[in-house]
Symmetry: D2
């Protein structure tokens, strides 16, 4: 392998730059040329590709976002789009790819591999941590700490005013972000897609708390929860408890940015190295991940189709700790 | 003066605890007993009052919120409520009050003083900085830094995705929070109640930017802007620019919490001292503030009724700096 | 088991409060009374012990330090001291103990158990992560992030001035803190007790870098490194490279404080629960830990005597990534 | 004026990049070409000068350090060096300069102006805040907040262990950084060059505190204090109080880095604009500053030779607040 390309795709996540840096430097270390493809599959089709050197990735390990930018690409979903993309890569002599992203990214990579056989290895870059094949995704730890920092601030004002705060955190269809936010944020209730936490339960818990002279509460609502958004949940609860002084905060895109934590920089660096060394050793169509502290490679198809269930014990922890 | 009371009222603000600490310690320093009144005027009426010692305020200078808690009080708006409040203070022999809060707090204090003549000095504690009689209010600098930190994170993701972000910041009827967020956050546009920034202007600015290959934008919307909330502004702009990839973030209550900045701790400490020393020297019915680096006392009635206009030059700065 | 005691001992670590909270609430949840012992073994001897309720640990999960305080105890190293301690616990009817701390703490606990047979379970609370029986100790993730945040700041000034910075981080006899600081901080060199990184190697690496037009460097020195402190290392290197513009920073006690990260709050909460549930289920003389995501209990004697070697691959990562 | 140059010189300070950005954009806004001179006077002599566009300063407002780098220049202290520098500027047709730095920078600028008459305006960029002609210098607010954040962390561990911490902060010959660190950090004692705080006073204060059951203390030592460094002060105090459990922390270069605060971004932006607009309006050989909220220009010679005394009241505040 003499030349490889690297790109980021889908929603950006803190640590993507640390991963790009590791990929570039590992390639250079092994005498491989590396090209940066801008704006994901879109840039691959349009040929927005340029060579990266070791110094190109200096001083980016601590930066949020992605210097290669990201985008969703409708064109890559068409046969023609992928053909053009392949031709662009061929023209430059690119023999392998590293894709940093989530399930949409790997779905595209999987089809592309099946059609053109270009070896591709993926690094799991998404704040949602909802990918099978790795204990943690790049960006997850940072997103959780960012959310927790916001929750700490909100508790200051919740406590000062005896209020109930309904805080919505990201996570798509999973409660991976919500759970540590609830446990670490000292929340009384957590509502996640994986479990049924009814409005009645919320109402009862608040009533019980008040009867025990507890005056401020935090309810963490994962964005994908079946009872609806934090606003909807708050409205339903308010109906049953008209005297409740409630506030809603939707943390939003703040969770996607910021300087990556130490854990995310480590993970991104380890997986970036693993992607390039995987390509060198002949691996293809797999995602690098770390499970139980050990480096693993999982076929793209499994990362897309298999579930990564959340530990049910964590829900119980919220109950014990808010006793 | 032998005994004074202190309370926080209205929305909480970072630095209120630093101010309470300064008030208690200055009182102790001058041999005055000091009582903490919990939950603002509500607690005054209900007699939720207890003695504070020097150690009662140890290790609180860095904490957000208010250890005395805060509340809005309907009862204090009635003659009877104020009578009960006065009797509660009389019972304990309290001869002076320090009120930490905003215009609602001082409106109440002003009426109370007129009816019962109890000397009261106020400290400006509100994140909104919309009080006449001081250059800065306690909590303002922290709120701005918290908002700016969030905006920095959002710009990571805005840049990575070539998006337009509409970010709503607090500030009630003023642009005091929005302005430094826009200038410090490198925003392209700022919309504040004090000026007319039309939807057309926003649309034109974005179009001009795109024509110059600028791909990501940040628009700061003060919550009190005439064009509506950030969501409403985004929707209006989207109508004119259907291809715009826009996102809305409402920073919300996060802005009220957090550990106070150095400037807020200094200001809170200075004004806390000034409140107690003002009472000792016979001042009453005034708010302590700092204007052009000098300690001043302004009658409550002026702090409530007079405007503190924003420097119009700041708007121009946003235009120059986003050139 | 009806009554248990909890204490922190040795150097404090962020997350100790989150652990105390989990212990107290889990005890309350299971109908067990829980007593807080202040100042470690010292307070046990002096009887500084008082009952804790669920509300006693409200609003502490986010706080650095330990509300129970910590101390080293010479008296507990004597037979008499331990006898008095046991009598104090007997007097209150305490039937089990939870000890939060490091190897000194567990050495004491082990002897105490052998002499008096009082069931004790430990939670690993130390920033150094040098305890066998758990992948991570409580406080480690926070310490690393705090150090990394400081290193990010130092790199700003290193880059601006073309300087070589020698930064000393904590970690006692291990490089656990130094390694992620070096990888995450984009350092060129890391010196840890577990490996031999000679002064010659440092000198050569700097020379090679300069020859490749690299102008600023960061060298992370673990406090226990064989070549000496960061100051000593810098002096030795300076001798060989008189024109080097070097600066030394010793991060120091800052690394012990601060609000715990999400990971530390989670770990502290999980292990706090595990300590109490371990006692309930009849465990004793063991430390709770998490290895490969699974809860484990390790005899105190093993946590003290067995080594937890650092992954040698990490050293190699620093070399690859600074290419 | 058609072409101007900008450079940073002396110690770097957070906000220098925000200032560079404002200078570049203001020049562009007024149709003036702007050149970036790298590494201060050194780069001026060597001709390390290149044109900057509006986009050259995108996304730097939040970054610590200086993208133009900084250096001290021995060559510029010679007649010949300055001659070469002038010729380099002449060659490019540069008609005016903006110098961001401290007193060393302005000393050089003043001589250069006297010799060659090239209009130069300065922006005060130094964390030390020791420049006459402005209430605050760019970088000061950030440095204080960074130091305070570290002190907050240290207090966690001080409180947990009943220790006395001697913390050394920067500030060259002034106590400007030390004072808000002491007041905002809840320190018991502050030692600054401007006042005499004897070792005896420290010893007495600690003794009195212990006698009142106070168990942990923080002493802030400005680096320029007459009693010596924090280490020296601690040693002297330890002699008188052998049982004191003392620790020393030297905050060091961390204080120079980090993302600038809102106040520093505002100040840097305002002064950057003022520098360029000052040049346009014919000003020269002056430093832009803000005094009592108003923009002012002060002759370089005054900024170098005149003192900016610290408010003596602040010392008294430390005494009152640690009562």
């Amino acid at each position: 392998m003499k030349k490889i390309g690297v790109f980021t795709s889908g929603g950006d996540a803190p640590g993507m730059n640390a991963c790009i840096r590791a990929i570039v430097r590992t390639a250079v270390y092994h005498g491989i040329e590396v090209y940066g493809i801008r704006r994901g599959y879109n840039g691959m089709i349009k040929g927005e590709i340029s060579k990266l050197e070791s110094y190109s990735v200096s001083n980016i390990i601590q930066k949020g976002g992605t210097i290669l930018r990201s985008a969703r690409s409708k064109d890559f979903m068409t046969k023609e789009g992928r053909k053009t993309a392949y031709e662009q890569l061929q023209k430059l002599g690119i023999e392998g790819l590293v894709a940093i992203g989530g399930d949409g990214t790997f779905t595209g990579a999987n089809i592309f591999f099946e059609e053109y056989g270009l070896p591709t290895i993926g690094a799991p870059g998404t704040i949602d941590n909802d990918l099978y094949g790795t204990d943690y995704t790049i960006g997850y730890d940072t997103a959780v700490n960012t959310a927790l920092d916001a929750i700490d601030k909100i508790r200051d004002t919740a406590d000062s005013h005896d209020r109930v705060f309904f805080i919505e955190v990201m996570g798509r269809d999973s409660g991976y972000i919500a759970i540590p936010c609830a446990i670490g944020g000292g929340a009384e209730i957590v509502m996640i897609p994986e479990t049924d936490t009814s409005i009645d339960y919320v109402v009862d818990t608040l009533r019980t708390g008040w009867s025990r002279s507890k005056t401020s509460f935090i309810v963490i609502v994962a964005e994908g929860d079946a009872e609806g958004s934090a606003t909807e949940v708050a409205n339903k609860v308010q109906e049953a408890l008209p005297h409740m002084d409630a506030r809603v905060t939707i943390l939003g895109h703040v969770q996607r940015g910021g300087s990556p934590t130490a854990a995310d920089r480590m993970l991104a660096s380890q997986l970036g190295i693993a992607c390039v060394e995987g390509l060198i050793s002949g691996r293809q169509n797999e995602m690098a991940g770390i499970i139980d502290g050990k480096l693993t490679y999982t076929p793209f198809i499994d990362t897309i189709t298999k579930d990564k269930p959340i530990n049910p014990e964590f829900i119980n922890m919220v109950n014990i700790l808010s006793v």
